[in-house]
Amino acid sequence: MNAILPTLSHEEILRYSRHLLIPEVGLEGQRKLLASSVLMIGTGGLGSPVALYLAAAGVGRIGLVDYDVVDYSNLQRQVIHGMSSLDQLKVESARARMLDINPDIQVDLYNEPFTSDNAMRIAEPYDIIIDGTDNFPTRYLTNDLCVLTGKPNVYGSIFRFDGQVSVFYAKEGPCYRCLFPEPPPPGLVPSCAEGGVLGVLPGTIGTLQATEALKLILGIGTPLIGKLMLYNALDMSFDFVNLRKNPNCKVCGPNPEVTELIDYEAFCGVPGHDHEEGTVGGDWDITATELAERLKAGNHLHLIDVREPHELQISRLEGATLIPLGQLAGRLPELDSAEEMVLFCKAGTRSARALELLASAGFRKMKNLKGGINAWAREVDPSMPIY
């Protein structure tokens, strides 16, 4: 943080008057906020409230990393974006909204995936890193980067009705790897795109991340260093557990194996960025158009829908057998390995997992519907909704 703190103009004194009235913040604290810098990884569900509140609070420099564009399905929870910014770059949409709230701050844009190649360069100017990403490779990358550069990592993660918040700051406590030395195998934990998320949940968790960032900048209160907060919206429960530094931690332990950024996609066994979602690769995929042609030609294909039962209320393919992915391993006897199968889900991710599971059980005559039932809606049946 800069040693010389900025002074406040009369306008700024008025803008931040509710901060100046709090003894724990005051004029000195507001000057610290104006001199501070925060990097926000992701400008989606978690990034939206974080960026809005940090901008409003007068954090002087905020970096935004994201490579996506605003999609209609984002608006259910990504409250920094709106109808007027559909199809715009998320970082640009977010900056416009932040500067509308507070034109006096600096917002830096990094319209690129956050990777081992650029992470050090991007993070270099910032005091605090906020993890609002959506995949394991980027979470391990963010953690290791923070450990290696000595920066605090304000962590937040969400799934359906559950949220987690912590501050991983290896100088003073454990890191993310102390708690989770290894990621789960691919497919065990569905993403929000597959598993869904209550729209307000990232609001709750992101707001807590913003709170922790402000406390770290101001040096007040007790940040969640060495503590993990677990939130469940259905029970309205907040649980806190103690985290200890793991003496065998491969990145923050006394004998680290990881001393530079590694290949996190390989480490996690899943792509973090720029992969073609909903495909298996090789000859395992079939497009919706091809499937429609083969069905029309009278080919006998057993359609297996691996979605959850409630998703059938949105869209369905006639004649398909429903076997939710979680039940597939236990229902293999229902399948005939001599019969050609086409597996599908919403967008092709779960069915790709299902295909891998069946392949490991010895099945060979099967295809994955590339892009899922949504691709069918786009290519074959425009009367079907896309979700």
């Binding site: 990884i41 992701g42 400008t43 989606g44 569900g45 978690l46 990034g47 994201d66 996506d68 993890d131 609002g132 990403t133 959506d134 995949n135 394991f136 979470r139 937040g156 993660s157 969400i158 799934f159 359906r160 009705f161 559950d162 987690q164 708690l179 989770f180 030395p181 290894e182 990621p183 789960p184 065990l188 934990v189 569905p190 993403s191 929000c192 795109a193 598993g195 998320v197 990232p202 968790i205 993990l228 677990l230 469940n232 259905l234 029970d235 649980d239 806190f240 557990v241 103690n242 985290l243 200890r244 939710p324 979680g326 391993a329 236990g330």
Partner: protein, 92 residues
């Protein structure tokens, strides 16, 4: 009886239950009871030699059982166990 909280991502393998009460005087006994009740949970929690998998964290009240006596940690009737999963969502 000690209670055990099952996190959302694992509920699919536990009949949708959020919390179960299971008899047992150690963490290991309760976990044995859990995977006997819900056998499809076992591969998600334990590896081949019966160790907790590295991406699974089991907390007794507010402490990680790895920081206590692991599966041998004794339990009281009022104890609460919590499985803490890796979740990654946030940007999408």
């Amino acid at each position: 009886m000690p209670t055990l909280r099952i996190p959302t991502p694992l509920r699919t393998y536990a009949d949708g239950q959020t919390e179960v009460s299971l008899g047992g005087s150690t963490v290991g006994e309760v976990m044995d009871g859990l995977v006997t009740l819900y056998p499809t949970l076992r591969p998600h929690l334990f590896n081949g030699d019966g160790q907790l998998r590295p991406f699974v964290n089991l907390f007794l009240n507010d402490s990680n059982i790895r920081d206590l006596q692991g599966m041998d940690t004794p339990l009281k009737e009022s104890d609460r166990l919590m499985l803490i999963p890796s979740i990654a969502g946030g940007r999408e």
